[in-house]
Point group: C2
Chain length 607, copies 2
């Protein structure tokens, strides 16, 4: 039954040799890896406007220059990352690049920053998508935690079905969003150019915020820039997921990255320009994107599609994390920094344990914060830019060390990337520190500590398991000890089995009734005159203690190295029938696990 449910939800298992076939080409790659980055367009310009608006009309005029700066930043980072994915075709995420070029500590910081980001991305983007849904249907507002959890579970299940499956399922909404956003920009700009659109500006009475404008300081502009910088989150997704692409994986990933960066820059710049031209101001009641859509398309079908696909792309940003988190954690687990189980390929050739872990962590956040996770947003810009900076710096060192044709040019490209993202990191960290970015300074060191503790354990295990100083196999003396509860047909099966094992054999009966039952001894001798039955008194009516005492005695007095305890157990047909039996075998096994020199043998017989 469990197997059937699994088949239905996740699908039939895929054999290992189909690994290559299950990978993504360019269209699928864009659907999976662009969702996170592109979803930023839904809130990026708005975040900038929110800050700038504090300085009134003078502030709003800075939108366009800032948008140009961020588009430039997108192109710089993307160019820099393109070089990385081509150079690291087996996965060029910040963790791997930092590990190979900067050393263990920076790679742990990068890994911790990215893993935290992925979890936050899932929680935040799903919560944002759910908020968009509950804005449209306010009666669902009370169920937003449940809806959020359901969304995470759905995305999780699709990802457990495999990465190709997730590309197929989620391609339609991603491409719809791309098309409708491009249409918005093109139609909007055309209508402005043709004079068909009237400015919505000049209505400061509907604008939110203080009417006593703040001065337009450099810090305010930097804060606005830092807020817009969140747009870049997701741009590293391709680099961390190169493994998911078909051969040549590096080139395919590079193509998707270029395409994604171009789309992101165009969409970001386009909507910002449009917002500037029509003089949009941020409102409490309506998003900037909705204002633009309403103005350009009117309240028709296209506007509805824009709103729906915006809500969907927000939720699907989570899908990108589901593609990256399991891969990154598998990388780190392979290096011994995370539990080994994260490297297990599941039924559908994905890292199922990582997918489930990510879903569990994100659901935990959504539930803990009651679905109101916007407070977490400042956190992840810091993580993303930390990873960017480490990755790009690592690449600079890589080129310097490795050389190769054109290494100087490449080092310069990555160097520019490193400097730019490093500066942005400082700006983001400073401007957002009190808003919560400080939490990162607590979480990342804790995670790094955890990585090292895990690694220390695996190193210890490996040191104990190495064959290097192993001595030759030494002969051991083993005693087989059959536990006899009473004389019945199951005991005969146990006896048969004891004889089949050959070697030293003995039977043992634990007397819990207070006085010996001569019947057991007599019947045993009738059936088996050769193998002795030892009766152990148990004044406290327990099974384990007398047995353990006897085993220790036998090992010491008779020189046995190992005692194999045979626990016969009969099999019942249903769960309620199993409630009707004592399960002494199970309890004994739990106790005997901790007794040195004991092996436990479960012998089950059908009734």
């Amino acid at each position: 039954m469990l197997g059937t449910a699994r088949r239905l939800l996740i699908g039939r298992p895929i054999p290992t040799h189909r690994l290559e076939f299950e990978k993504l080409a360019i269209l699928g790659g864009l659907a999976v890896f662009a969702a996170d980055a592109l979803s930023s367009v839904a809130y990026g310009p708005e975040e900038i406007l929110h800050i700038l608006h504090l300085a009134g009309p003078a502030g709003l005029r800075c939108l366009l220059p800032l948008a140009v700066a961020i588009a430039a930043l997108i192109l710089v980072v993307a160019t820099s990352y393109r070089q990385t994915v081509v150079e690291y075709p087996s996965g060029g995420g910040a963790y791997v690049v930092a590990r190979d070029n900067l050393g263990a500590a920076p790679s742990h910081v990068a890994g911790a920053a990215l893993l935290t980001d992925y979890v936050l991305t899932v929680a935040v983007s799903v919560a944002a998508g759910v908020a968009a849904i509950t804005s449209a249907w306010p009666e669902l507002h009370g169920h937003r935690v449940l809806i959020g959890v359901l969304c995470v579970v759905i995305v999780m299940l699709v990802n457990l079905r495999g990465v190709r499956e997730s590309a197929v399922v989620f391609a339609a909404p991603v491409y719809t969003f791309i098309l409708v956003m491009l249409a918005l920009v093109v139609v909007g700009l055309l209508r402005v150019a043709l004079g068909g659109l009237r400015s919505v500006g000049g209505a400061p009475e509907v604008a939110q915020g203080a009417h006593v404008w703040q001065p337009l300081t450099a810090f305010l502009v930097l804060r606005a820039f830092a807020s817009g910088g969140a747009t870049l989150t997701g741009i590293e997704a391709v680099a961390n997921g190169v493994q998911a692409f078909r051969t040549p994986s590096g080139l395919n990933a590079a193509r998707v990255l270029a395409l994604m960066a171009a789309l992101l820059a165009v969409m970001f710049l386009g909507t910002s320009a449009l917002a500037h031209l029509v003089g949009t101001v941020p409102l409490e009641s309506e998003t900037v994107l909705s204002q633009l859509g309403r103005l350009v398309f009117g309240r028709g079908a296209i506007y509805f599609v824009l709103q729906m696909s915006t809500a969907l792309i927000l939720i699907l940003a989570a899908n990108t994390s589901f593609a990256d988190f399991p891969r990154l954690s598998a990388f780190m687990a392979r290096d011994g920094y995370l539990p080994r189980q994260l490297t297990n390929l599941g039924d559908r050739l994905v890292y199922s344990n990582g997918i489930i872990a990510l879903a569990a962590l994100a659901i935990g956040l959504i539930v803990a914060f009651g679905g109101k996770v916007t407070a977490l947003i400042p956190l992840y810009a810091v993580g993303v830019f930390t990873a960017f900076t480490l990755s790009q710096s690592g690449m600079v060192l890589h080129w310097v060390r490795e050389g190769g044709p054109g290494w100087r040019r490449r080092a310069v490209v990555n160097g520019i990337g490193a400097v730019v993202t490093g500066v942005v990191l400082v700006v983001v960290a400073v401007t957002k520190f009190v808003l919560g970015a400080w939490i990162v300074c607590v979480v990342i060191p804790l995670l790094v500590l955890a990585f090292r503790t895990v690694r220390r354990h695996y190193d210890f295990v490996a040191s104990r398991l190495t064959l290097e100083h192993a001595t030759a196999v030494r002969p051991l003396r083993n005693l087989n000890l059959l536990l006899v509860g009473g004389m019945h047909r199951g005991t005969l099966e146990g006896l048969q089995y004891l004889k089949a094992l050959s070697g030293n054999g003995r039977a043992v009966h634990i007397e819990t009734g207070g006085e010996p039952d001569p019947r057991v001894q007599r019947l045993w001798s009738e059936w088996e005159p050769d193998i002795p039955l030892v009766t152990l008194p148990s004044p406290y009516r327990v099974m384990a203690a007398p047995l353990v005492d006897y085993i220790n005695h036998v090992r010491e007095a008779e020189g046995f190295d190992v005692v194999t305890v045979i626990l016969p157990e009969f099999v019942v047909r249903t769960w309620w029938e199993s409630l009707l039996h004592n399960h002494s075998a199970l309890w004994l096994q739990i106790v005997l696990r901790h007794v040195p020199g004991v092996a436990v043998l479960n012998m089950r017989y059908e009734l």
Copy 2:
């Protein structure tokens, strides 16, 4: 740590040979077994007055005759039961008597009725005691479920410490209640006789209920009688718990029974007479007992002791059930009608599983009904009188069959008991049917059905385990199969062990990585040239399926009867370390449990 908590809560284990010493003499027996019966005095007269009061002053005049009738009933039932406990010194409850004299079906009905009653008694009496406490401290009212659960847990823990312990702990409140009640009756009647007490009657305006009195019909009188009949609950407790008494258990039990019946009759008759003489009417705001106490003792220390010990005796009525339920369920489990675990004697020589089961069921009822369990009261009078009637009828048949000196007289005594309790059963069932007594007609048949299903299972198991048609022990061929995950020191320990087992041995490695790892094969051959290592490909990356296939193949093709799979597993030091490992051995074991012809051997090695 778990062991220490257990020591602290329950005490050190007691060896089986101390069984006799742990039993009860007369004083302890009265403390344990009288609590339930005596607690009835706290509400019995009041219940009668409640009904009679419906018919106004004319009705209230019937109190004394009814009290006399009930006291007579108490003496008849007690006399009848005295004969039973002497005759059945190993436990003369309704179940055993019905089983031995009336057959299986009546004994099941008696057992079901009694078990239900015990559970209801715990829930109802604890809830009543808690209600008395929350009347005194109304701020605790919101926590009544929690307090009730805590009371059940405390009584449970004391009972898990042993029956003698429960007698010691609970003797003080029981004897205090007896003394203060006797003082109430004696002082009260003396003061009435000396004219020192004035009637509280003649104030119908404070009386509750309709002022349009109902006619004093025979049905009303019967209803009042049936309500008062609840006083008899608990009188059978001694008979079900004869085993708890020291030798001569039958005689000791009979003495306690006589003492208890006398006390009960005196206290019941005395308080009823007092209530009649001073003209007490039932009030919403104050119990009849409290009115009498206040009148006789004034609002002083003795009144306070009366109220407190009344609340305590109500809670301690539960203790009587804790003495009886585990014994009865052990009896029935020994006959195969209940799970066998109920016959296990725990650390302190009590049937711990039965004690825990009773506590769990009662807590379930208290939680399910939110602490308001008074609705359940009508249920248990029916059960009690069913058990009475069956037990006494059984005794009549017993005397007729067995004969012996004075058997006719004895048969007549039990016959009178049977007829009287039978009549009361009909009265109770009819008058309380719509009030919930019908539920008993649903629950008891369901329980009887459950008993039979359980018994059928045990019969089936026994039929399969009997040695009667067993054939001689037949030689089996066994193959030892060592599971090799990789080549490390643990594998060498496994190999050592495989050799120590002697007999046919083979090693097997499951290849989940997609392509064979020649290193494992090569290293194995280096260490062990004789025993072959078989590599099984696993295209779906699972462990179990290829192993099961191979086992089936080996059993069919090579004629092995049993395959013993050796699963080596290393031991880590802490729980978090164990989270870092795959536990494939555990998973494999769960799957292999269901494969016929396979024994699983757990071999653990320290790192």
